[in-house]
């Protein structure tokens, strides 16, 4: 469950803000970093450290798309399919990834390595099409580039 280190970091975050509740989003991000996703048990623990009700914490966690409420693969592959990316072929990028990974959008590969998602604008329209894998942006994508990226991630 939540490590003592995470719990003490959340306490520090609470003290950092003029009002402790402001630490909720960073606390959830921290918990997710540690566990990969926010299970009901983790949400309850965050609620306890934050001094908030589990219902309150659950309602906040469910509002924001970056909080995973189901397990995701080691690499969360998020392809922007909004206007600028889609004008430059984001649909082909998604199709290529589906083929290469053998999964549909919203699914995780059986080895637990990759989860594929379509997401809204990532703010990288000048270098479209773009995808984000965990915290890293990959820009000006082509099918060949994707093959290289996937091979590199598999080697890690």
């Amino acid at each position: 469950m939540l490590s003592d280190k995470a719990k003490s970091e959340i306490q520090q975050l609470k003290a950092r803000y003029p009002h402790p509740n402001s630490a909720l989003l960073p606390a959830l991000a921290l918990a997710q970093k540690e566990h990969g996703w926010l299970s009901p048990e983790v949400l309850e623990e965050v609620a306890e450290v934050m001094g908030l009700s589990p219902a309150q914490v659950g309602s906040v966690a469910s509002f924001y798309t970056m909080f995973n409420r189901r397990p995701v693969g080691k690499y969360l592959v998020q392809v922007c399919t909004n206007v600028a990316c889609s004008l430059l072929g984001a649909e082909h990028i998604v199709e290529h990834l589906k083929r290469k990974l053998g999964i549909n959008v919203g699914e995780t590969t059986p080895d637990g390595l990759f989860t594929l998602l379509e997401v809204e604008c990532l703010g990288s329209c000048g270098t479209a099409p773009v995808m984000q894998v965990n915290d890293t942006y990959y820009e000006n994508l082509t099918a060949e580039k994707i093959d290289q990226i996937l091979a590199e991630l598999r080697r890690r």
Binding site: Y17, H19, E120
Partner: protein
């Protein structure tokens, strides 16, 4: 183009580090502001410069600052770095390449507004930028530009980098405040406006990254320098993000009132593959699209309003011939449906219906009555939603029906998308 101002550090090696920033004249405006200006004089300076909010609404920044009620403390400043309007990526460039430029702008603005605690609310996806900002904030504390008694002035400022977690609505100022308070990012009723009752119900200034980024230059060079560019009502410099079907997409810095044609042809290298332009979204996904007959429109708040659209965030998306407008608008409608926070019914239900109707038209199930139905739904969202997101969703729908009605009808008549083989 003259020497870049806002983008002057972009492309300089290690431009995000404080040594490089200072070698290039950074934090001199802060020294000047603290030494030569009383807070009220700074507010007046920014007012006289005519600097308008660069996030999309275009409200004069200095006037906004002057709405803070006298004698009520603490006050807060929140920098809106929740850049999420599709097509917009200018703030990301500033944050990643010139984080100290933003921090200096924030410090000066906080001094002007007598704020001692400030936040940068940055969208969670911009993790790289958030880390750069955090490093830069630490460097600024170490040099005494943040913290207690800044440069011996007696002015104190604490600056917190706060990450969002994926919600377009948090770019709306009251949604941002609710989110920063640790809640779902639901907008709040206005009035009270944030200036009088904002974060933690205290007076709060909210400005976009680019707006705050302009402030040190105005302090250094003066209000007259700023008003010497652009037009009387739209003075100064603007960052334009251009994307879509152009050869050289990117962020370009131009004086306001530069013609759209200049941006597309002289800076962005013209249309991709020389294809004729079919439509242009001039200021981010929510701004009504225009057709190439308006290529000579000056890019300023008033000129774009005069042709029924908006400057918005300065995000120009060029759509070339051969692109299906219905498909493009369907995708935008899907975005607004996804991002509607669900608080008010017109927006929550309306954006869902707009998407469903556009989806069926694009996929061969359109009906003759769908166009008037969509316009009716638009009328029931517009002006009747709790916050501006509802109205934002209408720009692409209404403008595309106005300019490309025949393309919609063709989809409906032929029961297929004519652009799909």
């Amino acid at each position: 183009m003259a020497e870049p101002v806002l983008l002057r550090n972009v492309g300089v090696p290690d431009s995000h580090k404080i040594e490089v920033y200072m070698q290039r004249g950074g934090y001199q405006a802060l020294r000047k502001a603290l030494k030569e200006f009383q807070p009220a004089a700074l507010v007046d300076l920014v007012k006289r410069s005519g600097l308008r909010g660069r996030g999309g609404a275009g409200f004069p920044a200095g006037v906004k600052w002057s709405f803070l009620p006298k004698g009520v403390y603490p006050r807060y400043l929140v920098c809106n770095a929740d850049e999420g309007e599709p097509g917009t990526f200018k703030d990301r460039v500033l944050i990643e390449h010139d984080p100290h430029g933003l921090i200096e702008g924030i410090i000066i603005s906080c001094y002007a507004c007598e704020v001692n605690t400030a936040f940068i609310y940055i969208r969670g996806e911009y993790e790289f930028g958030a880390r750069r900002l955090e490093q830069a904030v630490q460097e600024a504390y170490a040099r005494g530009f943040l913290g207690k008694n800044i440069l011996g002035s007696g002015f104190n400022l604490d600056l917190i980098v706060h990450r969002g977690a994926g919600a377009y609505i948090c770019g709306e100022e009251t949604g941002m405040l609710t989110s920063l308070e640790g809640d779902r990012g639901h907008p709040k009723l206005k009035p009270p406006f944030p200036a009088s009752e904002g974060l933690y119900r205290k007076p709060t200034v909210i400005n976009n990254v680019e707006t705050l980024f302009n402030v040190p230059f105005i302090v250094e060079r003066g209000a007259e320098w700023y008003t010497s560019m652009g037009t009387e009502k739209s003075p100064g410099l603007k960052l334009f993000c251009i994307s879509g079907h152009v050869n050289k997409p990117g962020v370009y810095e131009l004086p306001l009132a530069t013609p759209l044609r200049t941006l597309i042809y002289d800076y962005a290298g013209g249309p991709l593959e020389g294809k004729p332009i079919k439509a242009i979204i001039p200021g981010g996904s929510s701004t009504p699209m225009i057709t190439p007959e308006h290529l000579d429109v000056p890019l300023d708040y008033e000129s774009l309003a005069a042709i029924g659209t908006m400057l918005g965030s300065g995000a120009v998306v060029v759509i070339g011939e051969g692109t299906c407008i219905v498909r493009t608008v369907e995708r935008l409608a899907e975005f607004y449906r996804h991002e509607s926070c669900g608080k008010c019914i017109p927006c929550r239900e309306g954006t869902d219906w707009l998407y469903k109707i556009l989806h069926r038209i694009e996929h061969g199930g359109g009906r003759e009555e769908d166009l008037p139905l969509m316009l009716d739904i638009c009328n029931n969202i517009g002006g009747k939603s709790f916050c501006p997101l509802g109205d934002a969703a209408l720009g692409p729908v209404r403008s595309s029906i106005a300019h490309f009605r025949e393309e919609y009808l063709q989809h409906i008549r032929e029961k297929r998308c004519p652009f799909q083989d």
